[in-house]
C-alpha cells in the first residue's frame, strides 16, 4: 500500500490506494462475521472491494488446532480492483494456530495484530509451536502489535452479566473495532447490525456493542498503535450497490429468470459443499412460487428437475463435481429428450472427495464429455460472483430457447467470494420468451390420432430453423405424445433404430448446440486487439488475469486478454480473434482443460499456466508467466 502521509489532530494518517487485510482465528472466533462486517462498511464507504473467505473442511475442528483455523480476507481500494489481493498488508490473528497458517501471506513490514492473551503453553502446543513466536524474534520482519484482546474484551463486557464463554464470544467485535479505527471505518452500520441481529438477546446486544466500541477506543487511545490509514472512495459507476456472493447471485439470477420468463421454477438438489447454499437460498424464496426439493440423492435431484421441465417448469439442479458424476446418466436423457434443464456445478478440489471446501476448475471436460455416447450440452461459466447473476439468467435463456441441458460452471472461490453488485432496474431486465404449443404442428391432412377430428398430428420432434423442437407439455389436449431415452426418429419422435436416422440425430443434436453461438455475444478482446500474446481464461480466474494483464500492459507489453463466459459453443469470432496473436497463454486452476479444447479445435500451440492447489491464482503468478512468454 504505497502511502502518502498527512497529519490530523497530531496523529499520522496515511492516504493509501488499496489495502488487503485478513482476519484469522479459530472457527469458533467469528472471523467470517468480522470480515463480512468490515467488507460491508468499506463498501458503504465507497471503496471497491473483493473478499476471500477460507474455512476448514471440518465443521469445528478442535479449538486452537491448525485444522480449525478460519480466515476472511478483504481487499478494499480507491481504484477498481478485481481480486482479494495477493499479499496481506495487515493480518489479525486471534491465536497461534492462525499465526502459523497465515503469516506466510503477510508482506514484509506488514502489520501483524496478535491477541497476546492466547499464546499460553497450551495454545502454542495445539498449534505445534515449540517456542513462543512472540518471544523468539521470528516476527521481527513485521510491525507486530500485541493486544491482550481476551483481557480487554472481558473487561469491556463485564457488566453485561454474560457467562465467561459468552463474554469471550464478543472478542471478534473488539478486534473489529480496533481495525475500524485503524482504517477509519465508521461503526454505525455494524452497530445497527448488532441491534437488529440481537434484538431479542439484549445482553448480547449490549456486550457486542461495548466490545466493538472498546476496540475502537483502544486504537484511539493507546500510543503503541501505529498510524491510521485512509482509503479514499473509488471511482465506481453511479448506482445503488449491494454485496453479493456467487451463490447468492445464482439464486437471484435463477429466480429473476423464472419471473421474467413468467414460468415457475422447480429446483431439486442434494446438499453438497460448496453448492448447498443455492438450495438454502431458494428454499427461502417460496413467495416467488419457487418450489424446492431436497432430494434423496443427486440422481433424484436431476430426475425431479427433468420431470418438472417435462411438465413445463424451469427445472434446475445444482451440485459439485462428485454430484455431476451421479447426474451424468440423466443429463444424457435430457439431451436425448431435448428438454430444457439447468445444471449448476460449483466446482471444488478433486478428484473424488478431494478438497471439498477449496476451489478448482477441473470439471470442464467432465461437463463437455462426461456422458456415454455423443452427448452435447451448452456450457456457460460466470467470471465473478456478481456475474453469476447474469450467467444464471443466460443458462435459463439458452436451456429454454434451445431445449437443451445447459451447464453453469461456478467454483468455490466465486461461490463464497463477494463483490459489489449494481442493483439492476427490474424493468430493464430482458424477458425470456417461452411458448408451449397448444395445436398440432402438422397439416398432413391425416386426421389426428386422438380421433377427435382435428386435422393434422402433433410431431414432437419437428424443429424450427434453429433445430429446436417444440416444448409441448402434458395437459394439452390433442398433443399427447411419448418421449424417452431410446434413439428417436426425427420429426415424429418415435422410437427408431435405423442407422441413417441415428447419424442424422447425432448430427442434429450437435448442430443445435452449435446454433447457440448465433445468440451469444462475440468474444471481447481486452487490452491490445492484436499483438504478441493473448491471455485466455474462463470462470473465476477473471480478476487475477485482468489485474496481471493490466500490470503487464502498464509495463508496455502488447498483450490481449479474452475471457470465455460461454464454453460450449465458443463465440463465433473466436478463431478470428486468435488469428491476430502469435502466442497464447491459458491460465487455469486445473491441468489444462480449456487448453486441450482450444488446441484441438484451433490447432494453436497455446501454453497452459496450471495451478492445482485449491486456491485462486495470485496476480503475481500470472504476471511472471506473462513475462516468461514475452521475454
Amino acid at each position: 500500500m504505497s502511502a502518502t502521509a498527512t497529519a490530523r489532530e497530531g496523529r499520522k494518517v496515511q492516504e493509501v490506494e488499496s489495502v488487503t487485510i485478513r482476519f484469522a482465528g479459530d472457527s469458533g472466533d467469528g472471523m467470517q462475521l468480522a470480515g463480512t462486517q468490515f467488507t460491508n462498511v468499506s463498501a458503504i464507504l465507497g471503496n471497491d472491494i473483493a473478499t476471500f473467505p477460507d474455512f476448514p473442511a471440518e465443521i469445528r475442528a478442535p479449538a486452537g488446532t491448525l485444522a480449525g483455523v478460519s480466515g476472511f480476507q478483504v481487499h478494499f481500494a480507491s481504484t477498481d480492483i478485481h481480486t482479494p489481493g495477493d499479499r496481506l498488508n495487515c493480518l489479525i490473528v486471534m491465536n497461534p494456530a492462525a499465526l502459523k497458517t497465515n503469516l506466510k501471506d503477510l508482506e514484509d513490514g506488514g502489520i501483524l495484530i496478535v491477541n497476546s492473551d492466547s499464546f499460553g503453553p497450551n495454545d502454542l502446543q495445539k498449534a505445534k509451536y515449540a517456542v513462543n513466536p512472540l518471544d523468539d524474534n521470528s516476527l521481527k520482519g513485521y510491525r507486530v502489535i500485541r493486544v491482550p484482546i481476551d483481557k480487554l474484551n472481558r473487561e469491556a463486557v463485564k457488566e453485561c452479566n454474560l457467562s465467561p464463554r459468552d463474554a469471550d464470544r464478543c472478542k471478534n467485535f473488539f478486534a473489529l473495532g480496533l481495525v475500524y479505527w485503524m482504517f477509519e471505518r465508521p461503526m454505525e452500520a455494524t452497530l445497527k447490525w448488532i441491534r437488529d441481529k440481537f434484538a431479542k438477546k439484549i445482553d448480547v446486544l449490549e456486550a457486542n456493542t461495548r466490545a466493538l466500541k472498546a476496540g475502537y477506543n483502544y486504537g484511539e487511545t493507546v500510543e503503541m498503535m501505529p498510524v491510521q490509514y485512509r482509503v479514499a472512495k473509488a471511482k465506481i459507476a453511479p448506482g445503488t450497490y449491494r454485496k453479493l456472493t456467487g451463490n447468492e447471485a445464482l439464486a437471484m439470477g435463477l429466480v429473476a429468470a423464472s419471473q421474467l420468463a413468467e414460468t415457475p421454477m422447480v429446483y431439486a438438489g442434494y446438499p453438497i459443499t460448496p453448492a448447498s447454499d443455492i438450495l438454502h437460498q431458494l428454499a427461502d424464496m417460496k413467495n416467488f412460487g419457487v418450489k424446492t426439493l431436497q432430494a434423496e440423492d443427486e440422481i433424484a435431484g436431476i430426475g425431479a428437475a427433468i420431470g418438472a421441465a417435462y411438465g413445463g417448469a424451469i427445472g434446475v439442479t445444482a451440485t459439485s463435481g462428485p454430484g455431476i458424476c451421479l447426474k451424468s446418466e440423466a443429463i444424457g436423457l435430457a439431451v436425448m429428450t431435448e428438454l430444457p434443464l439447468v445444471v449448476i456445478d460449483v466446482q471444488r478440489g478433486g478428484p473424488s472427495t478431494g478438497l471439498p471446501t477449496k476451489t478448482e476448475q477441473a470439471d470442464l471436460l467432465q461437463a463437455m464429455f462426461g456422458r456415454n455416447g455423443e452427448c452435447p450440452v451448452a456450457i456457460v461459466a460466470p467470471r465473478s460472483p456478481a456475474d453469476c447473476f447474469d450467467m444464471a439468467f443466460e443458462a435459463v435463456r439458452i436451456a429454454t430457447e434451445f431445449m437443451v441441458p445447459t451447464f453453469l460452471l461456478s467454483d468455490g472461490y466465486i461461490a463464497n467470494g463477494a463483490e459489489p453488485w449494481a442493483i439492476p432496474d427490474v424493468k430493464k431486465l430482458p424477458r425470456i420468451k417461452i411458448v408451449h404449443p397448444t395445436l398440432p404442428n402438422s397439416t398432413d391432412g391425416k386426421h389426428h390420432e386422438n380421433g377427435n377430428g382435428e386435422v393434422g398430428k402433433f410431431l414432437p420432434y419437428k424443429r424450427n430453423a434453429m433445430l429446436v423442437r417444440p416444448w409441448a407439455v402434458p395437459g394439452t389436449p390433442g398433443l399427447e405424445h411419448r418421449i424417452g431415452g431410446i434413439e428417436k426418429q426425427d420429426i415424429t419422435g418415435n422410437v427408431n433404430y435405423e442407422p441413417a436416422n441415428h447419424e442424422h440425430m447425432v448430427r442434429t443434436r450437435a448442430q443445435k448446440v452449435a446454433n447457440v453461438a448465433q445468440t451469444i455475444p462475440d468474444l471481447q478482446v481486452e487490452g491490445d486487439a492484436d499483438g504478441d500474446l493473448l491471455v485466455i481464461g474462463w470462470g473465476g480466474t477473471f480478476g487475477s488475469i485482468t489485474t496481471a494483464v493490466e500490470r503487464a500492459r502498464r509495463k508496455g507489453m502488447k498483450i490481449g486478454q479474452v475471457h470465455f463466459r460461454y464454453l460450449n459453443p465458443f463465440p463465433k469470432n473466436t478463431g478470428e480473434v486468435f488469428k491476430k496473436f502469435k502466442k497464447f497463454l491459458v491460465p487455469e486452476l486445473n491441468s489444462g482443460q480449456l487448453l486441450l479444447l482450444l488446441r484441438a479445435k484451433y490447432l494453436i500451440d497455446a501454453k497452459g499456466l496450471n495451478k492445482v492447489q485449491g486456491r485462486p491464482f495470485l496476480v503475481s503468478e500470472i504476471e511472471e508467466a506473462i513475462e516468461k512468454m514475452t521475454s
Binding site: A43, I44, L45, G46, W193, G239, T240, Y241, R242, K243, M252, V255, A256, Q259, P264, A268, M285, K286, N287, F288, G289, K291, L293, A295, E296, D297, A300, I302, G303, A304, A305, I306, G307, A308, Y310, G311, G312, A313, G315, E329, T337, I423, V426, E449, N450, G451, N452, P474, G475, P477, G478, L479, E480, H481, R482, I483, G484, G485, I486, N494
Partner: protein, 339 residues
C-alpha cells in the same frame, strides 16, 4: 387448455399408434388391456394423464398408451414423476416399473417417493426376473432361482415388495395379478381414486424367461387355495370351498378351517384403514405354501400429499411476505449509493 370431451372415451381411445412389442404371451398385454379399461372409467381427460417409466420390458408401457408418456432411465422413474407432480399437481401421474427397475437399482427412489406421499400411482410388474436383459434373477426371485447369472441358483434372499412399501410408510399398498382382469381393473381404479402415493405389486408372467412362476395362484386347480382376496370389513376367507380363514394366534397368523377349527368370528376381519400397519405388514409376509398369498388393498389411509404441504407453505410465506418482488429481493441487504 379445454379438456377433450369426456363421455367419448373408450378403452381403445387409449391405444397409441405404436405397435406393441412384447413377446407373444407376455403378461404385460393383459395389464395394458385392463389399464385402458380402468382409465376409460375415470372421467379424467386423457391429456391429463402421464405414464412415467424406467427401463425394462414393463417400462415400455408408456409407448402403448395414447396419453402423455415419459420412458426415462433405469430405476429413476419415481424421481421424474415427483418433479412432474411438483410442477403440475393437476396431472394424474402413473409410474410403471419392474422388479429390477423398482427394487434393484431403483429401490431407494421408490422408498423416498412413498414416504413423501407424492401423489403418484406406482405399478410394479413383478415377474421375478430381468426380462429385457434376457433373464437374470431379480431381487424378488426366490432363493435358488437358476438364471443366466445364477447358474447354480441365486443365493440372495428376496425382498417382499409389499413389506418394503409398508416400511416406507406408503399410504396405499395393494397386490393383484395379470391374469385376473376384473381384480386388476378394480385395483387400478382404487389406486386412481387414492390421494397420495399408491403402490401396487402386479404378479406378471414372463413367458420367455420365467414362465409359470405364479401358476400356483393362477391355475384353476390351486388358485383358490393359494390366494386370499382381501375386502375391507370382510373376514379373511379363502379356499375352494370358501371355508378356510386366517386366524391370529398372538402375532402369528394361522390357517384355519371355519366350522371345524373355529367359528367365523375368530377369523380376522380385514381393515385397510388401520393407521397401525402391523396387520398389513403381517399379510405382506404370508407366502405359499404355509399361507395363501393376499390380493387386493392391504392398506389405504389418508395423509396430506407432498404437493399439498408444499403449496401450503408457499401460501403461508406469500401471505406473510407478500408476492415475490424482484426489486425487493435485490435490495434485501445493506445497500450503498454511489453518485
Amino acid at each position: 387448455m379445454a379438456a377433450t370431451a369426456l363421455p367419448t372415451l373408450k378403452p381403445q381411445d387409449f391405444a397409441s399408434d405404436q405397435e406393441v412389442r412384447w413377446c407373444p404371451g407376455c403378461g404385460d398385454y393383459s395389464i395394458l388391456a385392463q389399464m385402458k379399461k380402468a382409465l376409460s372409467t375415470l372421467n379424467v381427460p386423457r391429456e391429463k394423464m402421464v405414464f412415467v417409466s424406467g427401463i425394462g420390458c414393463s417400462s415400455r408401457f408408456p409407448y402403448y398408451m395414447n396419453t402423455y408418456g415419459f420412458h426415462t432411465i433405469h430405476g429413476r422413474a419415481p424421481t421424474f414423476a415427483t418433479g412432474l407432480r411438483m410442477a403440475r399437481p393437476d396431472l394424474q401421474v402413473w409410474v410403471v416399473t419392474g422388479d429390477g427397475d423398482g427394487l434393484s437399482i431403483g429401490g431407494n427412489h421408490l422408498i423416498h417417493a412413498l414416504r413423501r406421499n407424492v401423489d403418484i400411482k406406482v405399478l410394479l410388474f413383478n415377474n421375478e426376473i430381468y426380462g429385457l436383459t434376457k433373464g437374470q434373477y431379480s431381487p424378488t426371485s426366490r432363493l435358488g432361482t437358476k438364471s443366466k447369472s445364477s447358474p447354480q441358483g441365486s443365493i440372495d434372499s428376496p425382498v417382499r415388495p409389499l413389506s418394503v412399501a409398508l416400511a416406507a410408510e406408503a399410504t396405499f399398498v395393494a397386490r393383484t395379478v395379470d391374469v385376473d382382469p376384473n381384480h386388476l381393473t378394480a385395483t387400478l381404479q382404487r389406486a386412481a381414486a387414492h390421494k397420495g402415493s399408491a403402490f401396487i405389486e402386479i404378479y406378471q408372467n414372463c413367458k420367455i424367461f420365467n414362465d409359470g412362476v405364479f401358476d400356483y395362484v393362477t391355475d384353476k386347480s390351486s388358485k383358490a387355495d393359494n390366494s386370499l382376496y382381501l375386502e375391507h370389513g370382510k373376514p379373511m376367507i379363502f379356499g375352494k370351498d370358501r371355508n378356510k380363514g386366517i386366524r391370529l394366534n398372538g402375532l402369528t397368523p394361522e390357517t384355519v378351517v371355519v366350522g371345524k377349527d373355529c367359528g367365523l368370528d375368530d377369523v380376522v376381519v380385514h381393515d385397510e384403514k388401520a393407521e397401525n400397519a402391523t396387520m398389513a405388514y403381517l399379510l405382506s409376509r404370508m407366502m405359499v405354501p404355509q399361507f395363501p398369498e393376499v390380493f387386493g388393498v392391504l392398506r389405504q389411509v389418508s395423509h396430506p400429499t407432498y404437493e399439498e404441504l408444499q403449496q401450503r407453505q408457499i401460501d403461508e410465506v406469500t401471505a406473510k411476505k407478500g408476492k415475490g418482488d424482484l426489486d425487493k429481493l435485490f435490495r434485501n441487504d445493506d445497500l450503498w449509493v454511489v453518485e
